[in-house]
């Protein structure tokens, strides 16, 4: 029998508000009017571009008449109604599928500029917005998808993430920053991207008071930095003034001349951390002395946090069942790599594995139904690994949950393993991309699932992330094995290649990967398989791949093996990365998804407006 809401007698009170009203109807009208004025030549190209980006429409690859519409999902929390609306909008105005980004946005690609206002209009119906999703603004505020269910968290940071998002959205203080600005909330030290944001926050309690450990000035890009800790503890009543102080400092002092060096991390780096830190404290004092009524009204943490998230505390996020292998029943394999138990006893987080974040409109509808049927909180979260997490699922429901998803191709295993490869949109839609990172990520995922690598627990804490250029939208620098796209001349032929990095990681202990070597696009999969093979020969007893790689970059591998540092592994891979001559195998010199000679074509990026 189909389960009913009866399992959750007070479910209505638990569900997030069906229309959180992030969007505004009048903005869609204005956008539509401005497109017309732009087409008539009454708004300059520069002015229009700034306006367009401020409203979340990014120019598409070498085709300025099309946009990528970036839908912000504050804290990643999304309702079934919103998913269904996105499905309908994608079908009507985009390409019939949507793309989950690495920052909890959902993107619709190749929308005709003339239709962007229609997409925005539809989003307003379900309370979503694209406002300040691109441009020199505060981008989508991220929150760990485990927030509220993580056994290691001290309290749920979700309401704070939403309050901060709402506080800054359309706030005059951040409408024209020197550059984009990112805020990420963790749930605990481990889960989240706290060290690679302009402001990263970990919820912590001190003497019974809620507060945060705040990191500033991190971020990935052509030059990346790990954030610095501001102070030991920032109590929740200083959260908004601290964030305001940082934003205002950046607004005032950030580099507005050099587009390549105007993220806040450069300011921090050039000024020196201690000086910046002192200025933040000073600025915070003036903010607190002059705080306006408007500020106090604007900032409101929703205390009606779903009570289901406050249930009793269990243990760590454990795997759901014992060992599996490639011959195991598909359901068991899925259970093993896609489901973990929450801190609330008897409830599970179920991950939906996507391929590089892509999901069709029909799949979105099935997902919406699944959430309605099985999630005790009535919503889902999208994750920086480009998947979805459905939470508060009961164990009895797991088989039906699986069967429903399997019918629509959403029950692939490996969501929580290295098989779930991250890939930015690359040459499928981005002006900056050099390579088809998106397709490569999907190719790796299907190959690895075919090989059953999702079942290998020693690979589980590793990750693979790919960007199509050095700009890090694929977050390659925090992957165990990361790649970013480029072009190299090999044997006289321009070839798509990737620079491979080792040893990056996220969380509070976040660190940036170290560059190892360049690998031709068509040799990436073989190289990964070879690395795993070498690891299995070389590792000492129970060492996971991530641990072994961590030692390798520090050159502290001891024991039986031949491979002790990065130079050794480079040598071991020389054979694997080499290509046959271009005449013998021209395809090896082409990129994925192409049957013509490779050439690196890029146009002006719009990351900076």
């Amino acid at each position: 029998m189909k389960r009913e809401v009866l399992n959750y007698p007070d479910k209505k009170h638990l569900s997030p508000k069906s229309n959180p009203r992030w969007g505004k109807e009048e903005e869609t009208e204005i956008f539509g009017q401005n497109v017309k004025l732009f087409r008539k030549g009454k708004i300059s190209e520069d002015d229009f571009r700034r306006f367009r980006l401020q409203h979340g429409a990014y120019g598409s690859r070498l085709q300025q008449n099309y946009s990528m519409v970036r839908i912000k999902i504050p804290s990643g929390e999304i309702t079934p109604e919103q998913l269904e609306k996105i499905a309908a909008l994608s079908e009507a105005f985009s390409i019939g599928s949507a793309h989950v980004s690495t920052r909890q946005n959902i993107q619709l690609h190749w929308v005709q500029l003339e239709d962007v206002s229609e997409v925005m209009r539809g989003l307003v119906d379900v309370g979503l917005t694209t406002r300040e999703a691109c441009g020199n603004t505060i981008r989508n505020v991220m929150c760990s998808h485990f927030a509220g269910v993580c056994p290691d968290e001290q309290f749920d940071s979700t309401p704070y993430a939403k309050a901060i998002a709402r506080f800054f959205l359309r706030n005059p203080v951040c409408q024209n920053l020197p550059r984009k600005f990112k805020i990420n909330f963790n749930c605990c030290a481990q889960h989240g991207l706290v060290r690679i944001a302009d402001i990263g926050l970990i919820p912590v309690k001190k003497d019974g008071i809620n507060g945060f450990k705040i990191y500033l000035g991190g971020g990935l890009g052509a030059a990346s930095f790990i954030g610095h800790q501001l102070e030991e503890f920032t109590s929740e009543d200083r959260l908004v003034s601290t964030c305001m102080a940082v934003v205002r400092l950046f607004d005032r002092l950030g580099n507005r001349e050099n587009m390549a060096r105007n993220r806040m991390r450069y300011l921090v780096n050039e000024m020196g951390w201690e000086k910046f830190q002192r200025m933040v404290f000073k600025e915070r004092s003036s903010v607190e002395m002059t705080i306006s009524l408007d500020t106090l009204i604007r900032y409101k943490v929703d205390s009606e946090n779903p009570s289901i998230r406050q249930l009793s505390n269990g243990k760590k996020l454990p795997l759901i069942n014992e060992k599996v292998d490639i011959n195991s029943d598909p359901y068991k394999r899925w259970l093993h790599s896609n489901v973990v138990s929450q801190k609330q006893n008897g409830y599970f987080v179920v991950f939906i594995t996507l391929g590089a974040g892509d999901i069709t409109s029909n799949q979105l509808r099935s997902l919406a139904k699944t959430i309605r049927d099985y999630s005790g909180e009535g919503c889902a979260r999208n994750t920086p690994n480009q998947n979805f997490a459905v939470r508060f699922v009961k164990s009895n429901d797991l088989p039906e949950f699986y069967n429903g998803l399997a019918k629509v191709g959403l029950a692939n295993p490996g969501a929580l393993t290295m098989t779930s490869t991250v890939g930015c949109s690359g040459t499928t839609s981005c002006n900056l991309a050099i390579t088809n990172s998106h397709r490569l990520a999907k190719e790796i995922q299907s190959k690895f699932i075919e090989l059953g690598l999702d079942t290998e627990d020693d690979l589980r804490d590793s990750s693979i992330k790919i960007s199509g250029c050095p700009n890090s939208c694929g977050q390659h620098e925090i992957a165990t094995i990361g790649f970013y796209g480029g072009a190299s001349r090999i044997d006289g032929t321009m070839t798509p290649t990737y620079t491979m990095l080792f040893g990056g990681r996220d969380g509070e202990e976040g660190m940036l990967g170290r560059s190892v070597m360049r690998v031709p696009a068509k040799r990436v999969i073989a190289t990964l398989i070879k690395i795993i093979e070498i690891y299995k020969q070389e590792r000492s007893s129970n060492e996971s791949l991530a641990m072994w790689i961590g030692k390798l970059i520090n050159g502290v591998v001891n024991g039986k093996g031949q491979i002790k540092n990065l130079d050794d592994i480079k040598t071991a891979l020389v054979q694997t990365i080499s290509l046959p001559s271009p005449n013998d195998d021209p395809e090896s010199y082409m990129d994925y998804g192409n049957d013509i000679k490779f050439s690196a074509k890029t146009a002006r990026g719009e990351c900076a407006a």
């Binding site: 017309k36 390409i95 190749w110 999901i359 069709t360 040459t427 397709r439």
Partner: protein, 287 residues
């Protein structure tokens, strides 16, 4: 359309029953389920099912006759189409309502053909067969045969475009070429100068065509005025563009033609096409 208001209903009913009227406004393009049910009860309509004959035989809307799209396409002469109408008991004056189970595109192509040979009193059912059935409206299995009727032939050449008209449109002012295929097909290749209005934009889950004011807004967004001369085309036989033909009519465009042989003929003739190969957009699809 799907509002089913009493006043609208009256108006629509009057229109569809009026003699010799021409297609000029939205009420004539779409027939609501409510009105069709009334017309069926009054026995004053010929309902045409354009699905495959097998599907018709399994179940169809009450009183419907079967004229599959394939039959219409095979009989590629106006005389033959008139014969099909006559065999189905459709005279010049008979109101005809056409339906399919494919979001309206097949029905649109057949309706357009009827209008091309001079049967102006033709409209599209707002629902697909599946929707009609899901509402529990009247269906039957009986194969309906009606006494043959007499139908004149009056070719309506103003609604048809040949490839050379498409070619000329490019250099003429106020002529707009509309490609109604899906976005990625359009991006890959299209007739130079065409604007993309994917068929996916035209309908909703509840109706094969959106409200006229929405279609109008889409047109305005694209700079299509009701005084422009529009030619629609799609991939092969003019189904998707047939739906676009009716959508734009509903949006108020007065002069509109269907290039029914569409991109398939255009390519076969070796005419110029605009291609875009610098992005791997197909790899974004999750299928």
């Amino acid at each position: 359309m799907c509002g089913l208001k009493y006043t609208v209903k009256e108006k629509k009913t009057k229109n569809i029953l009026s003699r010799n009227h021409t297609l000029s406004n939205s009420q004539d393009i779409i027939t609501s389920a409510d009105i069709l049910r009334t017309l069926i009860r009054r026995n004053s309509v010929r309902v045409v099912d354009v699905r495959k004959e097998d599907e018709y035989k399994k179940e169809h809307i009450k009183t419907a006759v079967s004229i599959p799209l394939a039959t219409v396409l095979e009989n590629d002469s106006s005389e033959r189409i008139v014969q099909l109408l006559e065999q189905s008991g459709i005279s010049d004056k008979t109101p005809v309502v056409v339906y399919d189970d494919t979001f309206g595109a097949l029905a649109a192509r057949v309706a357009w053909t009827f209008q091309y040979v001079g049967h102006s009193n033709t409209s599209l059912l707002e629902l697909t067969f599946a929707k009609w059935k899901s509402y529990g409206f009247e269906t039957e299995k009986k194969i309906n045969v009606f006494p043959p009727a007499k139908h004149s032939l009056k070719e309506n050449k103003e609604i048809y475009a040949t490839y050379d008209e498409v070619e000329r449109a490019k250099s003429e002012q106020n002529k707009i070429l509309v490609d109604s295929r899906e976005r990625l097909n359009f991006l890959s290749e299209h007739i130079p100068g065409a604007t993309n209005l994917p068929y996916t934009m035209l309908g909703t889950a509840d109706s094969i065509l959106r409200e006229p004011q929405e279609i109008k807004r889409f047109m305005e967004n694209r700079g299509i005025s009701i005084d422009d001369e529009v030619i629609t085309y799609c991939g092969s036989v003019g189904t998707l563009s047939g739906l676009a033909y009716y959508a734009l009519r509903m949006g108020g465009v007065k002069k509109i033609r269907l290039y029914s042989k569409s991109f398939k003929e255009w390519k076969k003739l070796g005419k110029p096409i605009e291609e875009f190969k610098d992005a791997n957009f197909w790899d974004l699809s999750a299928e």
